[in-house]
C-alpha cells in the first residue's frame, strides 16, 4: 500500500470537509474491504479519513423506521433485539456475511460500498473494465462461475457481494448521504447502478459523499422476512445465489411481497414485475414457479454460471415455501 495520511474526523460535516479538501482521500470505517482493495491495487488513496467517531454509529427504532448509522458495526445491527425481531432478514443477512471477527469490525456503510470479488477486478495485472475502463472483461470468456446472469453486458458481468444490500433492497431502505453539496436521501433501489458501459461507476454517490444513515421503514412486511444464502461450502463464503424475501399473506393469498436477489445480478437485484406477479394471488407452487421464470426471462448465462438460472428459481421456491408455510 502506498504511504497514506490519516485524519480522524469528529463530525460528519468535518469528515466531508476534510475529504473535499484532501485530494485522493477516502473514508475508512472498518477497513475490511478497503485495505485489500489498496493491497491488490484495485484502489489507491493518499489519505484516509476515519469516520468512526462521527456519532453515526447507532442503531435505533422508532415508530416509523429503523435507523442504522453508516458507521454502526455489522455485529451491532445483527444482534440488536429489535432488528432480529422486526427486521429478521437484515439480521440473517448480516449473520450470514463474512466471519465473526469481520462483523465486529466492518461498518454498515462499508458493507454497502464493498466491491466485487471478481478475480479479474482484484488482480491489478488483469484487464478489467471496472478497474481500468476500456481494458476489457476477461470474465466473459474466462472464469465466471461467480458472475451475473442478469444486468450484465459486454463490459462487465461482476456481481455485488453484499448480503446486507440485498436485504435492504427487499425492505425499501433509504440511504442518507452527506456530501460537499449537502444532504440527500437515495432510495436503495436507485443506489446501485447497472454497469452498462461504465462499470467503474457502481453507485450514485458523488465524490466526497459519506453514508450517514440507512433508514428502513417499519412495516408488518419487514417482520415477516428471511434471507436464504446458498454457498459451495458450509459458511464463511460469498453468496453463490441468495434471496431476501418478505411476505405477507392472508389465508393463502399474497397480500404483499418483496424479493431481492444476490449472486445473480450485476447489482443487488430487485424486479418489481416478479413481485407483481405474486401479489394478490394464492401462493402456490405454480405461482412461485411462474414468478421464478419471470425473474430469469432476460437472463444471459455464461459457461460457468449457467446453473444459476435454475438455482435462483429453486431458491425462490424454497424461501417462499418457508415463509408461506407451504411445507
Amino acid at each position: 500500500m502506498r504511504a497514506f495520511g490519516y485524519t480522524v474526523a469528529g463530525s460528519p460535516a468535518e469528515a466531508v470537509r476534510i475529504a473535499a479538501s484532501t485530494p485522493e482521500s477516502t473514508f475508512v470505517a472498518g477497513g475490511t474491504d478497503l485495505l485489500n482493495l489498496m493491497r491488490d491495487g484495485a484502489e489507491a488513496h493518499d489519505h484516509l479519513v476515519d469516520v468512526n467517531r462521527l456519532g453515526i454509529d447507532g442503531v435505533a427504532v422508532d415508530s416509523r423506521r429503523l435507523r442504522v448509522g453508516g458507521s454502526a458495526r455489522m455485529r451491532q445491527v445483527a444482534e440488536h433485539p429489535r432488528v432480529r425481531r422486526e427486521f429478521p432478514v437484515l439480521s440473517e443477512a448480516l449473520l450470514a456475511s463474512a466471519s465473526p471477527q469481520v462483523r465486529n469490525m466492518a461498518s454498515i456503510g462499508g458493507n454497502l460500498l464493498q466491491r466485487t470479488r471478481c478475480g479479474y477486478f482484484r488482480d491489478a495485472a488483469s484487464a478489467c473494465n471496472k478497474r481500468v475502463p476500456g481494458s476489457g472483461c476477461p470474465a466473459i470468456t474466462g472464469h465466471n462461475r461467480g458472475h451475473a446472469i442478469l444486468g450484465g453486458g459486454d463490459h462487465c458481468i461482476a456481481t455485488h457481494p453484499s448480503d446486507l444490500a440485498v436485504a435492504l433492497i427487499a425492505l425499501d431502505a433509504t440511504v442518507h448521504l452527506l456530501g460537499p453539496g449537502g444532504e440527500r436521501a437515495v432510495p436503495i433501489a436507485d443506489f446501485y447502478l447497472l454497469p452498462g458501459s461504465t462499470p467503474d461507476r457502481e453507485t450514485v454517490m458523488r465524490p466526497g459523499e459519506l453514508i450517514t444513515w440507512v433508514d428502513v421503514p417499519r412495516t408488518a412486511l419487514a417482520g415477516r422476512s428471511r434471507y436464504l444464502k446458498l454457498r459451495d461450502r458450509a459458511t464463511f463464503e460469498f453468496a453463490v445465489v441468495s434471496v431476501a424475501a418478505a411476505l405477507r399473506t392472508s389465508g393463502r393469498v399474497v397480500q404483499d411481497v418483496r424479493l431481492a436477489f444476490g449472486g445473480v445480478g450485476t447489482r443487488p437485484w430487485r424486479d418489481t414485475q416478479v413481485e407483481a406477479a405474486l401479489r394478490g394471488r394464492p401462493l402456490t407452487g405454480q405461482a412461485i414457479a411462474e414468478a421464478g421464470r419471470l425473474l430469469v426471462r432476460d437472463a444471459e448465462p455464461y459457461e460457468g454460471n449457467r446453473f444459476k438460472v435454475e438455482l435462483v428459481q429453486r431458491a425462490l421456491v424454497s424461501i417462499l415455501s418457508d415463509l408461506g408455510g407451504l411445507r
Binding site: 478475480g119 474466462g142 472464469h143 459451495d232 458450509a234 459458511t235 463464503e237 460469498f238 438455482l311 424454497s318
Partner: protein, 725 residues
C-alpha cells in the same frame, strides 16, 4: 518397557504452540534485517525486456532492487529442487507469477509498496493454459525418481477384451493448492561466508543441500533451521527459487534478508496438485474378480519440467489383478510446475475406487464384498510374490463396516430418505505409499539424568516431537518429561524429509536404536562401577523404569540415570540408526451424505474409518492424521479448485476466499478406528508411514455415497451444488 509408545500422550510441544512461544521461521528476530518482497511476472510466457526500478528505488526506505542483471550465477540443484530453472538468472519467463525482481527495504510496508512501483516490460507470447485444448499433445514423460511412467503386467488389452463385464469411464480433478496456513518464508543471514537460513521447510537437510549446491559451497557452510513448521502438505518439501533468491539478495546486500511470500504469490511459488484426467477401464468376471485394468492418466506438466507426481500406485498394487497396464502421460502447459500435494495418489485412487463402486452396482455385488473378493496379501508388483508384512485391510473393512452399520444399507440407490433429504452411504479403500529416508539421530544423557535427542528431521504438525520423545523415553525407561527432542536443524544428524509419510518409518527406528544403545551404555557403566549398588549385576538383569535402574530380582539394588552419568563425569552420547523399507498403509472409510437436491446442498454427516498403520505409536496424533485427512478428502471432493484463466494463464483465485478449503462447519465427526495387530519387533517397532493414507478414499466414498443417495454418478471433482441439482 513402560508402555509409553502407543498411548495417546498429549503433544509435548503443546504448551509452546498454545502460548505463542513456538518460533516459526518468520518469528525470528534478526538484528539489522532487511525486508524482501518479490516482483512477479504478469505474463505467462515470454521475455523480460526492460525493468524500470527508478520509482521503486526512490521510495523511502528502499535499499535495493535486484534484477537478473544483479543476481550471482547459481547452479541448478537436483530434485527435490523441482524447478528445472532458476528465475532471475536470465530474462526468460516460464509462467505467470515467476520472480523477476527482488526489492529490499527497511520495513515490510516499504518493500511491498516499492515492489508495486517496479515497472517491467515484457515481450509476451501467447500461453496455453487449458488442458482440454491440447490433450492430443499428451506424451509419456521420462521416468521420475526411478519410476517409469508406464508399467504393465500380463496382457491387459486382451484381458479387457475378453472380460465378462467392463467399466470404461473418465474421471478428473482440477488444479489444487496446498495452502498451508503459514506462508513460505526465508530469512537468510550470511556470517563470515557461512549462510544461516531460518526456513519454512519440511526438509532442512534437503534444503541445505540444494542451497549449498546452488551457491557452489560446501554443505558445512550452510545451516538450515526450522524447529516448527506452520503446515507443509508437500508445499515445503522441495526447495524453491525464492529461498535461493533470498540468500542471494542477502549476499548482495551484505545484510540479513527476510522474505515472506504473500498468499497470492504462493499460488505460483511452491507447486500444486496437477490438473488430472483419468481414463480407467476395468474388466472383471461376473463374480467381480478383476481380470484387467487399463489405466491411462494425463496430468499437467510444463515446458521445462515433466515430472509426474500423481502416480497410479493403487491401480498397480491394491487389488489382485493379473493384467494391468498403467500409463501416466503429461501435457505441457504454460503454468508453474506441479508437485506432490498431500496424498498425491488420491487423484488416481479416486478414479479406481469410483470405478470399483460402479462395478459393484453393475454386478449387484456389495461394494465391500467386491473389495474383499479382490483383496490380495501379496504385493502385486513384486516379481517374487512377496507378501505384505502384516496387512490388516480385511479387518479394517470389517471393523469400519460394523461400526458404521453398513449391514443396514439398502442396496438400491435413491431410495433412502429422511424428510427432504436423500441419504446415501458410500465406502472406499484407503491406501498410500510411504517412503523411507535413511536417518540418524543423536542421543545424549547428561549428568542431570535427562536425555536429549537431536535429529535433523521436522515437526510439521504430525507429532514428531511427541512420538520421538515417547520412543526414547520408553526405550530408556525414563519419564516423558526427562526427555527433550530437538529437531529441524542441520546442525543435528541428517534425518528424513517430513514428506511422503516418511518421518516415522525413517526416524522412529533410529530413535529406538539410540535409546537402546544409550540404555545399554548406562547399564554397562553402572554394573562396572564399584560406587553403584548395581555393581556386578548381569546387564540383562537390569530393568529401567522412570529414570531408575533396578536389579530384576532385587529391586532394592537400584541406581539412577543421573547418578550413573554424574559419576561417569561426562554425558553418555550415542548415535542411532535403523534401516527400514518403504511400503504401504491401508484402511477403509465409510461415510454418509445427506443431499437436498432441490438446492444442491450436500452435507457429509457421518464418517467411520479403520486404518492399519502397523504399530500405532500415539493414538492422538494418529487420530489427528485421520481427521485431517478426511477433511482434505472433503475439500478435494467438494470444493477445491484453482482457476486459471484460459487466455492469460493467470490464477484467478489466488486467495482463501474464492479458493475454498473446508471450514469448521464443513466437517462431521469422524470415528477413527485403528487395527493394530503389529508385532513390535524391537528394532522397527512395527512402524509404518501413515500420514497420507487417511483421506485417499474419501473423495470416492463421497461420490459413491452421492450415487447411493440420488442415483447420479459424478466423476469430476469438485462436486459443487450445481452438479447435484
Amino acid at each position: 518397557m513402560s508402555g509409553l509408545v502407543g498411548q495417546g500422550v498429549a503433544r509435548v510441544d503443546g504448551r509452546a504452540k498454545v502460548t505463542g512461544a513456538a518460533r516459526y521461521a518468520a518469528d525470528n528476530e534478526v538484528a539489522g534485517v532487511l525486508h524482501g518482497f518479490l516482483v512477479m511476472s504478469t505474463i505467462a510466457r515470454g521475455e523480460v525486456v526492460e525493468i524500470d526500478t527508478g520509482a521503486a528505488l526512490a521510495h523511502p526506505g528502499v535499499v535495493a532492487v535486484y534484477t537478473h542483471a544483479d543476481m550471482p550465477r547459481l547452479k541448478l540443484p537436483d530434485f527435490p529442487f523441482n524447478r528445472r530453472f532458476i528465475p532471475m538468472q536470465d530474462t526468460r519467463v516460464h509462467h505467470h507469477g515467476q520472480p523477476v525482481a527482488y526489492v529490499l527495504a527497511q520495513t515490510l510496508e516499504q518493500a511491498q509498496e516499492a515492489a508495486n512501483l517496479v515497472k517491467v516490460r515484457y515481450r509476451a507470447e501467447h500461453p496455453v493454459a487449458r488442458m482440454a485444448d491440447v490433450l492430443d499433445e499428451a506424451f509419456l514423460p521420462e521416468k521420475f525418481r526411478n519410476r517409469p511412467n508406464e508399467a504393465a503386467r500380463g496382457d491387459a488389452a486382451a484381458a479387457l477384451e475378453q472380460a465378462e463385464v467392463r467399466i470404461d469411464q473418465t474421471y478428473s480433478s482440477p488444479m489444487q493448492h496446498h495452502n498451508p496456513i503459514e506462508p513460505h518464508t526465508t530469512t537468510a543471514v550470511w556470517e563470515d561466508g557461512t549462510l544461516i537460513l531460518y526456513e519454512s521447510t519440511q526438509g532442512v537437510v534437503f534444503a541445505r543441500n540444494a542451497v549449498a549446491f546452488a551457491f557452489g559451497k560446501g554443505r558445512e557452510s550452510v545451516r538450515v533451521i526450522s524447529p516448527y513448521l506452520g503446515g507443509g502438505f508437500g508445499a515445503k518439501g522441495p526447495t524453491y527459487p525464492h529461498t535461493l533468491l533470498t540468500a542471494a539478495a542477502a549476499q548482495l546486500a551484505g545484510r540479513p534478508v527476510k522474505l515472506v511470500l504473500s498468499r497470492a504469490q504462493m499460488y505460483t511459488s511452491n507447486g500444486h496438485r496437477a490438473e488430472y484426467r483419468h481414463h480407467l477401464r476395468l474388466g472383471a468376471t461376473r463374480q467381480g474378480m478383476l481380470t484387467a485394468i487399463v489405466d491411462t492418466s494425463t496430468a499437467q506438466v510444463t515446458r521445462v519440467e515433466e515430472n509426474i507426481y500423481n502416480g497410479s500406485d493403487s491401480t498397480l498394487r491394491l487389488y489382485a489383478c493379473p493384467n494391468v497396464h498403467v500409463r501416466q502421460l503429461g501435457v505441457r502447459l504454460d503454468l508453474p510446475t506441479s508437485s506432490y500435494m498431500r496424498s498425491p495418489e488420491t487423484t488416481a485412487h479416486f478414479g479406481l475406487e469410483t470405478a470399483m463402486d460402479e462395478l459393484s452396482y453393475e454386478l449387484g455385488i456389495d461394494p465391500v464384498e467386491l473389495r474383499i473378493r479382490n483383496h490380495t496379501e501379496v504385493d502385486q508388483q513384486s516379481e517374487t510374490g512377496q507378501a505384505y508384512a502384516g496387512k490388516q485391510l480385511l479387518e479394517c473393512y470389517r471393523a469400519a463396516a460394523e461400526a458404521f452399520g453398513w449391514a443396514r444399507r439398502s442396496p438400491r440407490p435413491g431410495v433412502t430418505r429422511d424428510g427432504d433429504e436423500y441419504v446415501g452411504w458410500g465406502m472406499a479403500t484407503e491406501t498410500h505409499t510411504y517412503g523411507v529416508i535413511p536417518s540418524q539421530v543423536h542421543l545424549a544423557i547428561g549428568p542431570d539424568g535427562r536425555a536429549t535427542l537431536r535429529a535433523a528431521t521436522q515437526e510439521i504438525g504430525t507429532g514428531t516431537y511427541t512420538v520421538l520423545t515417547q520412543v526414547v523415553a520408553e526405550g530408556l525407561g525414563m519419564p516423558l518429561g526427562h526427555v527433550t527432542t530437538l529437531l529441524g536443524d542441520t546442525a543435528y544428524p541428517e534425518a528424513s524429509l517430513s514428506a511422503g509419510s516418511s518421518t516415522m518409518p525413517s526416524v522412529a527406528g533410529p530413535a529406538a536404536d539410540a535409546a537402546r544403545r544409550a540404555r545399554d551404555a548406562v547399564i554397562a557403566l553402572a554394573v562396572a562401577d564399584p560406587r553403584s549398588p548395581l555393581l556386578g549385576v548381569p546387564a540383562e538383569e537390569v530393568v529401567t523404569e522412570n529414570g531408575h535402574l533396578f536389579a530384576r530380582g532385587d529391586r532394592d539394588r537400584r541406581d539412577t540415570y543421573r547418578n550413573v552419568v554424574t559419576r561417569h563425569g561426562s554425558a553418555v552420547e550415542v548415535t542411532g540408526r535403523q534401516d527400514n523399507t518403504a511400503g504401504h498403509s491401508f484402511g477403509a472409510v465409510f461415510l454418509e451424505v445427506r443431499i437436498q437436491p432441490r438446492l444442491g446442498r450436500l452435507r457429509v454427516t457421518r464418517v467411520v474409518t479403520a486404518h492399519d498403520l502397523g504399530r500405532v505409536l500415539n493414538r492422538r496424533t494418529a487420530r489427528g492424521q485421520v481427521i485431517g485427512g478426511v477433511t482434505w478428502g472433503i475439500g478435494f471432493a467438494l470444493m477445491e479448485h484453482t482457476m486459471v484463466d484460459p487466455n492469460t494463464a493467470r490464477v484467478v483465485n489466488p486467495n482463501l476466499s474464492t479458493y475454498l478449503v473446508p471450514v469448521c462447519a464443513d466437517t462431521p465427526s469422524v470415528e477413527a478406528l485403528f487395527v493394530d495387530r503389529s508385532e513390535p519387533d524391537g528394532k522397527l517397532l512395527g512402524v509404518r508411514g501413515f500420514g497420507e493414507t487417511p483421506g485417499t478414499g474419501v473423495p470416492a466414498a463421497i461420490g459413491n455415497a452421492i450415487y447411493h443417495a440420488i442415483g447420479r454418478r459424478l466423476r469430476d471433482v469438485p462436486f459443487t451444488p450445481d452438479k447435484l441439482l
